[in-house]
Amino acid sequence: MRVPTMAEKMANGESPEILFWVGCAGSFDDRAKKITKAIVKILNKCQVDFAVLGTEESCSGDPAKRAGNEFTFQMQAMMNIEVMNAYEVKKIVTACPHCFNTLKNEYPELGGNYEVIHHTQLIQDLINTGKLILEGGETFKGKKITFHDPCYLGRANDVYEAPRSLIEKLDAELVEMKRCKTKGLCCGAGGAQMFKEAEKGNKEINVERTEDALETQAEIIATGCPFCNTMMTDGVKNFEKEGDVKVMDVAELIAHAADL
């Protein structure tokens, strides 16, 4: 696995085509790190000219903003923008829909203008241009896979098709939950909920959502967000189904299919 940093690239006088914004979950959460590595393997395999910020990356500020602390958000945003503008970043790919949303929509007004894409969009492009071929690895043929729309990818930014097209490329059977796409139910983590206990109610949101997923009889619940991944994994555990149903990021499915 080769993970070049922007600093190394710059030292060599290179300016990589694309910055891989790893995000806090992708950097520190044990489950999400696996997703990060799957993406790096795909980028390596396709010889994408990329780099990460590494220790120069900091929180995008999304959870601070959603929690109502605009100061902390803008401090984070401006410091990140300063770093990225110094490296003359033009294009960013990220595996976190929350970073994706804030980098894409909220950074421009603060001086950070980049083309921001989600990793499912990049992988779709790599497959469509023939750079990535799905063969030799695990076969998903005929397997039932359902896709849980991350709110900040779907409703927030209208990306519904890219992750689904990848699942279809696996030759798998894509089964939709009763609430999907624009009507997709949140996993319960957004708006800084990930970092606090839920308010009093009669059910946890991730349990409600996992019911939707289990109803489809899918063997794999695919997501495109590290936080959704956590919430759905916990939901599956709640029903003691972790032996039958796996929760995986679309990037991991692709990496497995391509034997990476």
């Binding site: 109502g68 902390t72 803008q74 109610g201």
Partner: protein, 442 residues
């Protein structure tokens, strides 16, 4: 005599409505400024599709079709109202009948058929609310006045439709006996429904009785319209008018984009700029320092306030809200209803005691609790679902901003999360220097 009475009613009805509409406008303009004057073409397109074309209604087809029947009937019946106004002021009877000929028969027939559909739809709506008790119509924020309000409107619609048919039905029988009106000899109107319903109901009535029934229908119709028009500003039903401006002024940005607070940007720039003069005079010294976020309705934008008046309490937002469906206190519909109720109160206060009057109450605390606000996952389901592009999320976020930045009221776990971001650049307690460790783990 009848003409004078009609003229008085018409001007009173229109005048009172104008006064109430002015009050609503005054209240909405108490909101903070926000620029929605751009992208006119896209705005018109949104209005045509979403308000006029009912596009978002159709994600739930059954209520969409029922609502469409009512909506089209309502819009088309306005043509008949023009005739009623002309007849009422001039003393004519069915002014357009001889002018339009066959087209008149077609038009009134069309209105009659739509009215029957609207009648069925109204009954279905009453049944859905009162007998089937659909979950979104029985949530606790609807207990009391809101439920009554909804039923009053539906019953008014039933009465209105009954008036149309007694008017046309009685007139049909009168015409067939040559007693309709001086301008009319003897004949048939041949309207699609009343041509058979009239004789069926009224065949045995005398000409005098029929005249009374016809007049009751005519006056009942127009009185209901005046009453309805003036009821609108007091009820949830204002959406029939405000849906149009509200969709025109829609947020056209990606739903995930939250506003960047400019006041904060200026301060953050000062903090990060080593050359900044911390003692520099503010650019606009006369400008009163604004609150961070929203404590009360006047801190919200005028679009938030227009949203509140536009809400017809259908509850699609709350029935799709993840917090609400899992039993939390948050209901986006309640956020909108609270905003409107508080705005009405503030507006009355300002007009009575002078602009800026403080009654010691606020939207946060007296109407909306912190528990509701913290239950939101910012998933945008409420925004997506609203058939008239209301945005409850932006209100929730502005209220949160006030709680956090002005009052430091925040769930303790989130304080920890924010401290971590400020200290080590991640919501968890991991050092920034360890950010790339994953690359060397297997």
């Amino acid at each position: 005599m009848e003409i004078i009475l009609f003229a008085i009613l018409l001007s009173a009805g229109a005048g009172f409505f104008a006064y109430n509409a002015w009050k609503v406008r005054y209240n909405i303009l108490l909101g903070q400024d926000i620029d929605r004057s751009d992208k006119k073409g896209e705005r018109i397109k949104t209005m045509v599709l979403v308000a006029f074309g009912q596009k978002k209604m159709f994600s739930r087809p059954i209520p969409a079709l029922l609502h469409l029947a009512l909506y089209v009937a309502f819009v088309i019946t306005q043509i008949e109202l023009i005739e009623i106004a002309i007849d009422g002021l001039s003393g004519h009877h069915r002014f357009f009948y001889f002018k339009l000929g066959g087209f008149y028969t077609f038009m009134i027939s069309f209105i009659e058929i739509l009215s029957v559909l609207a009648f069925v739809a109204t009954l279905a709506f009453l049944i859905r609310r009162n007998l089937l008790k659909l979950p979104r119509f029985t949530m606790k924020e609807l207990i009391g006045w809101p439920t009554k309000d909804a039923n009053i409107i539906l019953i008014a619609e039933v009465v209105l439709i009954c008036c149309i048919f007694s008017m046309n039905g009685a007139d049909e029988v009168l015409y067939s006996r040559g007693g309709s009106h001086v301008e009319f000899a003897k004949g048939h109107f041949d309207f699609a429904i009343s041509s058979w319903m009239g004789p069926l109901l009224f065949q045995n009535f005398s000409i005098d009785a029929l005249h009374v029934i016809e007049r009751i229908g005519w006056w009942g119709h127009i009185l209901m319209v005046f009453a309805f028009l003036n009821y609108l500003p007091y009820s949830k039903h204002f959406h029939i008018l405000l849906a149009f401006p509200n969709t025109f002024y829609s947020n056209l940005e990606q739903k995930g984009k939250f506003t960047n607070m400019e006041s904060v940007t200026n301060e953050v720039k000062l903090m990060l700029d080593p050359n900044a003069d911390p003692y520099a005079a503010p650019a606009n010294p006369d400008e009163a320092p604004k609150r961070f976020g929203a404590k009360d309705v006047t801190d919200l934008t005028w679009k938030n306030l227009l949203d509140a008046y536009t809400c017809t309490e259908c509850g699609r937002c709350s029935s799709s809200c993840p917090a609400n469906v899992t039993g939390k206190l948050l209901s986006p519909r309640k956020i909108m209803m609270d905003t409107r109720d508080r705005l009405v109160e503030v507006g009355e206060n300002y007009r009575k005691h002078g602009k800026g009057y403080d009654d010691g109450k606020s939207l946060i605390g007296d109407y909306i609790t912190e528990e509701e606000l913290w239950a939101c996952t910012s998933c945008n389901a409420c925004v997506q679902e609203c058939p008239v592009n209301i945005d409850p999320l932006s209100i929730i976020v502005d209220l949160r901003r006030y709680l956090v930045m002005e009052e430091s009221k925040i769930p303790s776990e989130l304080t920890g999360m924010l401290t971590n971001i400020e200290n080590n650049g991640a919501p968890w307690q991991f050092a920034q220097s360890e950010r790339l460790n994953w690359a060397n783990e297997d």
